[in-house]
Symmetry: D2
Subunit: 336 residues, 4 copies
């Protein structure tokens, strides 16, 4: 947990949680590290402004229900559960019109309330997602970040389409795997790291190119001069944003998921308007549309196993954060 | 060719066609038999009312351009070509708004003008579809009927969805293969013929059930009691139409492609309205959206080879029609 | 209230309701009669199988909150409220994916729980819809049935479209008014009753035609031979269902809301498949998408006042049911 | 015509055009000035790089067919015609999939071929749009720029929605009028010019605000703190682009039509991604979907008359360009 303001985390004994009436207590079987956790670990400006210690981090998780609050009806002890990490208000315009993923009042597991880097966590019934026992814990805990990629890729059809994915961190790799399972015709992936490009090939990229290569040229070669139907920006790098707009064909689609850390100057006329593009800003998962799609993708054979490069006991969390810092990893999963 | 009114076809020597200004002449490399051809062969009521002999049949085809009319610009001699069989007017409301597949004035290759059961056929440039040389002729000629199935399945998303396909004739088999490539979670197929159910398993059905089985019950078992997301009716049997409406979940989708030969009494309240369904009537292929998707599906690994159960020389067309009549076949391809 | 099994209703003194924790008590200011209420009043087969007396009817309502349960947060005493009459479970597939209007477990106000033909009614917070004080009570109570029509008409775009509405009962009249406000180019309406056709003209029909007229011919005249873009079936008459399929153009849309009381034999090939139609089964209102649209339509100038032909004190409910039975009315509103 | 490179235009006698086989000759009854024409008149950098004199300008027009080429079938002498100004290739991916408005090879009337600032103009049959004689010439010639606004506003539903329009030049004014006819709940318009804001009020803006006002604050007041559902950027000003992203609600829509003359630095995270927006780049008109919608909007009562502030004889074109330069005008129509 983040015991006090400042860098680092500590492992502490805390009382086991008791569930509120509409909550369940879950014994955590697997939980994974996210870039957000890394920001909090390092205690950067964003973390300082957002987190109020003490706080148990962790929002990517999977476990088994061990206790249910008295008004819980949809779940029972023994159910295997992953969690939607956004606890939405249910009462705003967005929640009332099928857009709870951009709820105006949501709180986040592991940031605004105690999360899953723990043996037990208490969650509202309404964020629980029943998970097939056929999915092993180290993959089941990845459904939350995987859902970001499912949301991104499936904002429109991708079947039979040519695709560009910029950024081969975990969400980029997931996007490649989803596009592959959904029957994309061609998947071009880019990253600055050869380590990550190699992972991209393993999850199904047709061509994994270093960002410094002539990506537009290669894409024209691979698409009979057309450009790609869809581009998914998963890196947050300004140059990757431009690359997406440049490589997508007229009337194509760009979905933006990666978060740039500064403003990106866009030539709106040539990058967007004259091309007649559709652009989607993506955050979180459609609740629970994305989760159902995700469950179906696993049944269809989605294979994200190559993305999990490291599995560690919970107490070795420091090693996990070091791996993330190094960039020489895909997903790091912790087992409490 | 259908030389005169009456059952049967004859093989005749005819002058090689010369192209009009906007046409190309194609040397046919492969052409396949369709149920429509079988109706004309048998000279049933519909054929009598529609066909004016002499007429060369055949609308599912693939070949190589050997001559181009003088105003042709998009294709050249040597190009490998399949054909959209609907020659649309280009000037009606539907053609002008992206719905040329339901053009009010279209004519059909092999019905309203001479078709592909021949060594050479002349076609308007605008129905030509350039085909990758990597697709072998006996599959390349199937793109027209395959397009019907692509159109049916991809009217909406199918990725991660549970699916019912009723009817495992060629278009049903194609629908299964397309849904499999597009990442469907579960594909239940039904037919009255065990021969065809076996083909269904080969192209990717999760469960291939005889029509007389308790299909609704099996579907509830396989979908946690939900029913399927999407149902594709490819048989034209009234009982299959009812099965689709019964097995699809509330807010689901039904696409109707099979042509019933009589009226189907529907309980609109319980089969459609209270379930809040979306229903699509499907005819032909979106021009050329469906063709592009189809090309992409081949790149994504679509495998329709098991559907081609028989390949014959053109002169053995009678054997082909007998096979279709027997029901003990998938697609029958003729090689001129 | 329906005090006992059998025809008719009685006015009885009952204790004022007390709200559960998540409920509000509303003083009813206006409530309107629906065809469903008429079935229950007459105690037909459907009513006998569904209603368990004693039961207070009424599900179209408007009033003011006078008391709130202790966990209510989104509403307060004094708020002006209409009610979504479907109390949905919130936990099924449909509820979790933005399709709560076809929830598998919903209960209905005035049928499964006591309704609004009363001075006070207690409702769950989650079905409450805050209503602008600028809308007078006799219109505000109509939002529930109006929502059915908004849902029907706005399943797709209607702006600039030519439209057919079959059936000019209240939901048909509402559909006309909605299409008018949404900028339909042409609205043809049909009914068997001249009384209702006159109301259709008042709410904005371009042409209101008796059902026995040559409606297809008139529509071809009015649409340059094209047929209409969209057809809305609001009557439940089999002949009107056929009329919709016949008059809509190729690639058009048909939305079915009216409930036929028997099976309708459809020529699927010619009525749906060869035309390439999209068909929507409509029930209830999208929760709360439809309500927000409805609020916006009032701001845009939607005028449904001509539909309210009679306003009566609650105790004259028998007169109201006689009016409905006679067919010589639009909506009948009761004021408690 | 632009007789030679350099500022200004001249009126010259030229031979009347003769139509190619697929063309019609039109006697121009009205033609209007566009910002593009003004750039060419002033001979700015863009004009210098794009226009090769001699060239007759003019692409917004209406007239009567006086002669038809020999292969023309859909139109005849006497037909009243407006023109889609983009002459598309018909053979590229975009043209073949219903996206001809972003054809990769299109040429433009009055820029790449002689246009309508003339007594007669020859046009391909395929760009002709038959126009109702009920629309007067000075409005009928505006359908091309009006179509830009129809395309922008109707990329999605606008009925019952709250709307922001930034920029009240002609296309902004048209967007307001279209949103009004389509049943928008609330239309907030902004511009720097009080003259144009007054026009905005005339065509249906609910609130017309100077750009320097607290527009976000006013919008929150007018929308119960929600922000608008849809924002239409019609000005090209970077500050207006930011205003659209700021004022639209989470899960809302932004359509960008105005062309900025420099790069716009965007905070993608807060302006687009975290809000879960959908963004459309808009150019030209969907061919011919937009034109059909536009025809229907006129039938529905669309009133764009206040936008035409000046009607001049063709020979007074210099006055027209001066008016445009001054900003004290809406649309300027020339009558040959």
């Amino acid at each position: 947990m983040k015991a006090a303001a400042g860098p680092g985390l500590e492992l502490r004994s805390v009382p086991d949680p008791t569930p509120a009436a509409d909550e369940v207590v879950i014994r955590v079987k697997a939980t994974s590290l996210c870039g957000t956790d890394s920001h909090i670990y390092q205690w950067d400006d964003w973390a300082r402004s957002r987190i109020r210690p003490p706080r148990i981090l962790g929002h990517e998780m999977y476990g088994e229900i061990v206790e249910t609050g008295r008004s819980v009806t949809a779940f029972k002890v023994g159910d295997l559960i992953a969690a939607e990490s956004h606890v939405t208000c249910g009462k705003c315009f967005q929640c009332r019109t099928g857009n709870a993923h951009v709820c105006k009042n949501y709180t986040i597991l592991g940031i605004d309330r105690d999360g899953s880097f723990a043996e037990y966590v208490s969650l509202p019934e309404k964020v629980c997602w029943r998970t097939s026992p056929e999915i092993p814990p180290e993959l089941a805990c990845l459904q939350e970040p995987l859902g970001n990629s499912v949301h991104t890729v499936l904002t429109e059809d991708v079947t039979g389409h040519t695709v560009l994915v910029t950024g081969c961190g975990p969400t980029g790799l997931f996007a490649i795997a989803v596009a592959r399972t959904a029957g994309a015709a061609l998947i071009v992936a880019t990253d600055v790291s050869e380590y990550r490009l190699e992972l991209a090939r393993k999850v199904g990229a047709t061509a994994a190119l270093p960002a410094q290569a002539d990506v537009p040229g290669r894409i024209l070669d691979l698409t009979d001069g057309e450009g790609v139907d869809d581009a998914f920006e998963m890196s947050g790098h300004p140059s990757a944003v431009h690359l997406c707009f440049r490589c997508v064909k007229n009337a194509g689609r760009v979905a933006l998921f990666g978060i740039p850390n500064r403003e990106v100057p866009l030539d709106l006329a040539n990058e967007i308007i004259f091309k007649g593009l559709r652009i989607y800003g993506i955050t979180g998962r459609r609740i629970f549309d994305t989760w159902y799609r995700l469950g179906g993708l696993f049944q269809a054979g989605l294979d994200i196993r190559p993305v999990v490069t490291h599995t560690l006991p919970l107490e070795e969390f420091r090693t996990g954060f070091e791996l993330i810092h190094s960039g020489q990893c895909g997903k790091v999963v912790l087992i409490p």
